[in-house]
């Protein structure tokens, strides 16, 4: 447990003139040490004092969660008929929200895995809570296909299990691929996240003053004691998990895009779909990370760890993925025109200027024009206010992207099959409710688990301040 003397002793360490730019204490102008990093992050959890912002976010999430509860109860009682789905648009909001949420989840794994492999040290400040974001976003995503099933209590029929009827799932179907992809994604994300948490939970266990905290964090820490040999195994597992999560992220959204691309609906069976979906997922995921990080770092005074420098880098990633996504829209239109396919071109025109044309232009405006105009400026990328605006715009834009894709179903090959789609109140209630579930879980996470990796921040500290001299977690792995 921390004693007064331990804190005093560590601050007596000689000051490092050239601190690592990612770990600079802006509050007392003293460089962070091992203890101050642990306290700055751990005390958020252990103190139990929470800023007003936390209560606002948590209660808003809790209120919206009640809307979800109502919507789900009514759905179970009445069936999926309460939604606006009909014959040309059989999935509607369910798939829009499913793809949107799962896309948001991807940034978490991307930040933890891809940036880990690329030795990007700035990831350290954001990987923990973006991983948490992944898990909660995948939970929200999973909700929609589950509810859309109509009889959600039979969801296990999608898994291969021996049964008396001798019926097995159809493994050639993208829907079954989805089940496996999303289940795997959720499980692997959870393992990755929890494994990263174990040393931090051990740190909290030893730092906690209250008995219940010592017991709970002690149980969760699995008896971790920081043995050198355990660390080496741990790093190896962490590195391999990063290595396999990278293709996993790409594969999951590729499989999600197959839900559309394996069909023969005009504009859906494009080869650009998988990479373009992945880019869009990263785009919206990064937007969600930044949109959440900006208020959270302010409430908890964690600007030391999540600096404007991070906003700048995240902005650059969003700029790049935003262009990939824009290229995707361009390519869709171009291929329809250049391919000289009557149906593709007709559907493109309907998408742009048909009854749902407004949603297409919303998509272009929110996703391409607004963010990509402003993200070029370094000043704007480093401005929390502007980044928040841009990120919210991207989140709305990416939602419209999925809406536009789904709405394509209203105009198919034969005019006799054309129809309309309008979401009902219950569609909106479920969507808002899923946002509530996300916020509720996320704010609970902020309250009870360290939102930044204590261990990895300590490794980033210069050696003079007791750290590992800027080694990221994997660099010691054999």
């Amino acid at each position: 447990m921390a004693t007064a003397s331990s804190t005093a002793r560590s601050t007596e360490l000689p000051l490092e003139p050239e601190m690592h730019p990612l770990v600079r204490s802006t509050y007392d102008q003293k460089p962070h040490g091992l203890v101050s990093v642990g306290d700055a992050i751990g005390n958020v959890v252990l103190d139990g004092k929470h800023p007003t912002g936390w209560w606002i976010g948590f209660l808003a999430g809790f209120a919206m969660l009640q809307i979800l509860a109502m919507a789900v109860c009514w759905l179970f009682y009445m069936g999926v008929g309460i939604w606006g789905i009909n014959v040309p648009v059989a999935w509607g909001f369910a798939i829009v929200n499913f793809v949107w949420w799962i896309g948001i989840g991807h940034a978490g794994t991307l930040i933890s895995a891809v940036l880990l492999l690329l030795h990007q040290k700035w990831r350290t400040s954001i990987n923990r809570f973006s991983e948490a974001m992944t898990i909660f976003a995948v939970m929200c995503a999973g909700l929609f296909p589950l509810l859309h099933m109509g009889r959600p209590w039979f969801f296990y029929w999608l898994y291969p299990f021996p049964n008396v009827a001798g019926v097995w799932p159809q493994f050639r179907s993208p829907l079954t691929w989805d089940v496996f992809a999303v289940t795997t994604y959720f499980t692997v994300s959870l393992v990755f996240w929890y494994l990263g948490l174990v040393p931090d939970l051990a740190a909290l266990r030893d730092q906690a003053k209250k008995r219940w905290q010592q017991v709970v964090y002690g149980l969760l820490a699995l008896g971790w004691r920081g043995s050198a040999i355990h660390w080496r195994r741990y790093e190896k597992v962490y590195l391999i998990l990063g290595g396999i999560s990278t293709p996993l992220v790409l594969s999951v959204h590729t499989v999600v895009s197959f839900d559309f691309a394996v069909s023969i609906v005009p504009l859906w069976h494009a080869t650009i779909f998988p990479p373009f979906f992945v880019a869009g997922a990263i785009y919206s995921g990064f937007a969600m990370v930044v949109a959440i990080a900006i208020p959270v770092r302010k409430w908890y005074k964690l600007e030391d760890f999540f600096s404007d420098h991070h906003l700048d880098i995240m902005g650059k990633v969003m700029l790049a993925t935003g262009f990939l996504v824009t290229y995707g829209y361009f390519s869709e239109a171009w291929m329809a025109w250049y391919g000289h396919t009557l149906y593709e071109w007709g559907t493109t025109m309907e998408r742009m200027f048909g009854p749902y044309g407004w949603s297409y232009w919303c998509l272009i405006g929110f996703n391409c024009v607004f963010p990509l105009t402003f993200l070029w400026s370094k000043k704007i990328r480093r401005s929390p206010f502007w980044m928040e605006l841009i990120c919210i715009s991207v989140l709305i834009g990416m939602w419209f992207e999925r809406y536009v894709i789904v709405i394509t179903l209203t105009r198919e090959y034969i005019p006799a099959g054309w129809g309309h789609y309008a979401p009902t109140l219950w569609d909106y209630a479920t969507m808002v409710g899923s946002l509530g579930l996300f916020l509720f879980l996320f704010f609970l996470f902020l309250r009870y688990l360290p939102m930044i990796s204590i261990t990895e921040m300590r490794e980033l500290l210069p050696k003079k301040q007791g750290g590992g001299g800027g080694h990221s977690i994997m660099e010691n792995a054999p």
């Binding site: 921390a2 040490g33 091992l34 642990g38 291969p160 001798g166 097995w168 159809q170 493994f171 050639r172 079954t176 691929w177 496996f180 992809a181 289940t183 795997t184 499980t187 692997v188 393992v191 929890y194 494994l195 040393p199 051990a202 740190a203 266990r205 030893d206 699995l222 008896g223 971790w224 004691r225 920081g226 043995s227 050198a228 660390w231 080496r232 195994r233 790093e235 190896k236 597992v237 391999i240 998990l241 396999i244 999560s245 293709p247 996993l248 594969s251 197959f258 261990t455 990895e456 300590r458 490794e459 050696k463 007791g466 750290g467 590992g468 977690i473 660099e475 010691n476 792995a477 054999p478």
Partner: protein, 198 residues
């Protein structure tokens, strides 16, 4: 904690002590260091001096410590590889059996064994089992979860997750001798040396 082990009950001879569970047995000597480098250096010295049952403890991974312990490569790679391979093979065989023999459906006249459509699930199964074998393999090989590790009895050891670096020479070490080992550790200029009981 003071030394309560008499030479007659030297911790190397644990069979005597274990006959009477009320007699405390030393787990080992725990030396506390200020920096990771000092810890790694101490381990190097101890290994050079012939100690074999020892370990280092730190709040973040110190690669040099594992190297000094002659643990240059972890066994987790093969564990996860075998796990992943098993998952991929069983995933593929499951799909092949289910859709070719168990419940064969004619979808657009495609062959029952249309293997390219089995690739996504095979891949997902591989990733899933790699991750799970990594996680559970790590716990199993490290002997975790274990809540009652003897070093937790130490007064200072909770700083191993905070700001201190420890080296523990265990009493099971053939070369362990409470007094001589303590003197050896003191020569390495630690912040403190403590004997920890089981």
């Amino acid at each position: 904690m003071s030394t309560t082990v008499t030479p007659g009950h030297a911790p190397g001879h644990t069979d005597h002590a274990h006959a009477d569970p009320t007699v405390p047995v030393a787990h080992g000597l725990l030396a506390e260091f200020e920096t990771g480098d000092a810890m790694a250096h101490a381990i190097e010295k101890a290994v050079a001096a012939g100690y074999t049952h020892l370990d280092g403890f730190s709040p973040y991974p110190v690669g040099e410590a594992a190297d000094a312990l002659k643990f240059p490569k972890s066994e987790m790679g093969p564990v996860m590889f075998i796990g992943g391979l098993t998952g991929a093979c069983s995933g593929f065989i499951m799909q092949y059996w289910a859709n070719t023999w168990g419940y064969s459906l004619n979808i657009g006249g495609r062959p029952y064994f249309s293997w390219p459509s089995f690739v996504p699930i095979t891949f997902e199964m591989m990733v899933l089992t790699t991750a799970l074998s990594g996680f559970f393999g790590l716990l199993a090989i490290c002997g975790l979860p274990r809540y009652n590790y003897p070093l937790f009895n130490s007064k200072t050891f909770d700083r191993a997750t905070r700001d201190r670096f420890f080296v523990c020479i265990e009493a099971t070490d053939p070369k362990y001798d409470a007094a001589a080992t303590r003197a050896f550790l003191n020569d390495l200029h630690p912040l403190s040396v403590e004997e920890v009981m089981e």
